[in-house]
């Protein structure tokens, strides 16, 4: 059966096969500079502008790192699910790539969130891990689920099936994120520091600092995603050009990988390789 994953005339293949030079990463420099400035501003606000919290003192400053990182990671997971819906609808491998990058980057942010959350818990409650804290626990469950994303991809050899199954996973997990948070929150007494409830109950300076930190973190996420996308596109293109130089067929040199690879290929070779499924 002809796999529908890569339509022969998709823009990706067209551009690659005509050999016109492609530019990836447009705007990357501007985005990077904006990120650095936003993070510098956020840090300056955190250390010099936001007031010390009465009970927790200096320790509370980790809130400006931990909470934005958690919010950005969770949003990234949900965005990964939305991009995966787009992939399932259009069957364009580039959506799968975007979904993969969004989830990959969110996983890294999630590790950061768990570490900073643990530090905060140790500092304010005296334990590295607190079970009656629903947000931390839900976050751990979500993290454990997403930790299987890459093993799942890696265990499927056919690239078309890999991307399709990964998208099904990403949509399921993306929908699971809010449901899990509701379920875990129901199960525990509400103990989390009230600062999470919204910015309404924060003093003005803290709210401003928090919003700037959140913005900076979101910019960092976007920039890192764009870097990874650019790197992956460029690598695929370099590989395709190198193969064309040496006259190999494309299917021969493809290493098995958990990351999606865009089809950097001439159309007949890919059709021959894809029809075996």
């Amino acid at each position: 059966m002809q796999s529908p994953g890569r339509p022969a005339g998709s823009p990706q293949n067209e551009r690659l096969s005509t050999g016109r030079p492609q530019r990836y990463g447009g705007g990357l420099r501007a985005l990077s500079i904006a990120t650095v400035l936003a993070i510098a501003l956020a840090l300056a606000l955190v250390f010099f502008y936001a007031p010390l919290e009465a009970e927790q003192g200096f320790l509370q400053k980790i809130f400006y790192l931990h909470v934005p990182m958690a919010i950005v990671a969770l949003c990234g997971f949900v965005i990964g699910g939305l991009l995966a819906i787009q992939h399932l609808r259009t069957r364009d491998a580039r959506w799968d790539m975007r979904s993969y990058v969004a989830i990959h980057m969110s996983l890294i942010f999630a590790v950061g969130t768990l570490v900073t959350g643990s530090i905060w818990a140790k500092g304010s409650w005296g334990h590295w891990w607190v079970w009656n804290e629903p947000t931390l626990v839900s976050f751990l469950i979500v993290f454990l689920l997403y930790a299987t994303y890459q093993p799942l991809r890696f265990a499927i050899e056919d690239p078309e099936r890999q991307s399709r199954y990964a998208s099904v996973f990403a949509v399921t997990a993306g929908a699971f994120v809010p449901m899990n948070f509701i379920a875990v929150r129901l199960s525990t007494a509400y103990l989390h520091p009230r600062v999470l409830g919204g910015t309404a109950n924060l003093p003005g300076e803290m709210a401003l600092t928090f919003l700037v930190s959140l913005f900076a973190m979101a910019l960092l996420y976007a920039t890192l995603c764009k870097y990874e996308l650019t790197a992956k596109h460029t690598r695929a293109q370099v590989r395709a050009l190198r193969r064309r130089l040496s006259g190999e067929s494309d299917a021969a040199g493809r290493a098995r990988s958990a990351a999606p690879t865009l089809a950097p290929t001439t159309v007949p070779a890919r059709t021959a390789a894809g029809s075996g499924a």
Binding site: P4, P151, L152, R164, S167, V171, A175, M179
Partner: protein, 230 residues
């Protein structure tokens, strides 16, 4: 659909096939039941207690049922993947989601059969208080939880069966997704298994379970077709 074959008759045919295969091979249900009973024995020695009640009893019951269910989930699609069942199904001019419904119903039947053995065994071997007065509520909780396990298990089994590490990936994918079910089911069960139980199962846990089942049913229904096209 061609007009001649309705989804309902497809589901019925598939379900009949599944149950017939299980009756003739006895691959899943006896193993799951035996596993559950053995696990109770292991819990007895691991905890060094001759009877349990309340939270602990609910936890033991649900962990055991869940792990026994994982055994069934792991085997759910293996025959279809290895012996051409998927190919045969895909060649037939029938709706794809019929397979999801049939497999989920199959798993539901497996779980019901498992619980027919496991719950009495639990009451006999480990449970302190009697189950007499709370049986109706317990059955309701079991049913709601089983629905969710069946839907999630079917989706996860279909995801994992085509991978090389299927026995590993199935449980790894399933367990986090089943955590909310464990929360709801264990919280709802624990007052029923206490010596002095203060009343019925809390309604909000039943509602949580039902809502989770419904949402995951919709998700699985929307996504299952994408797993079946090769």
């Amino acid at each position: 659909m061609n007009g001649t074959v309705t989804t309902r008759s497809t589901v019925r045919a598939l379900l009949r096939k599944e149950l017939l295969v299980e009756l003739r091979t006895l691959e899943s249900v006896p193993g799951m039941s035996l596993f559950a009973v053995t696990t109770f024995v292991v819990f007895h020695f691991a905890l060094n207690r001759s009877s349990v009640e309340g939270d602990l009893a609910a936890g033991i019951l649900w962990v055991t049922l869940l792990f026994a269910a994982i055994l069934g989930i792991n085997r759910l699609f293996v025959a279809d993947a290895d012996q051409g069942g998927f190919d045969g199904f895909l060649l037939a001019p029938v709706e794809r989601s019929a397979m999801l419904i049939a497999k989920a119903l199959t798993l539901l039947a497996y779980l019901a059969a498992l619980e027919l053995v496991a719950v009495p065994a639990f009451a006999l071997l480990l449970l302190g208080p009697s189950l007499g007065g709370v049986l109706g509520e317990l059955v309701l909780i079991l049913l709601l939880a089983d629905l969710g396990v069946a839907v999630i298990g079917t989706l996860v089994a279909a995801l994992a069966v085509q991978t090389r590490a299927r026995d590993l990936l199935g449980p790894l994918l399933a367990l986090p997704l089943l955590v909310p079910i464990v929360i709801g089911a264990a919280r709802a069960t624990s007052p029923l298994l206490a010596f002095s139980h203060p009343g019925g199962a809390p309604g909000r846990w039943l509602a949580t379970l039902g809502l989770y089942d419904l949402l995951f049913g919709l998700i699985a229904y929307a996504l299952f077709d994408f797993l079946l096209e090769d």
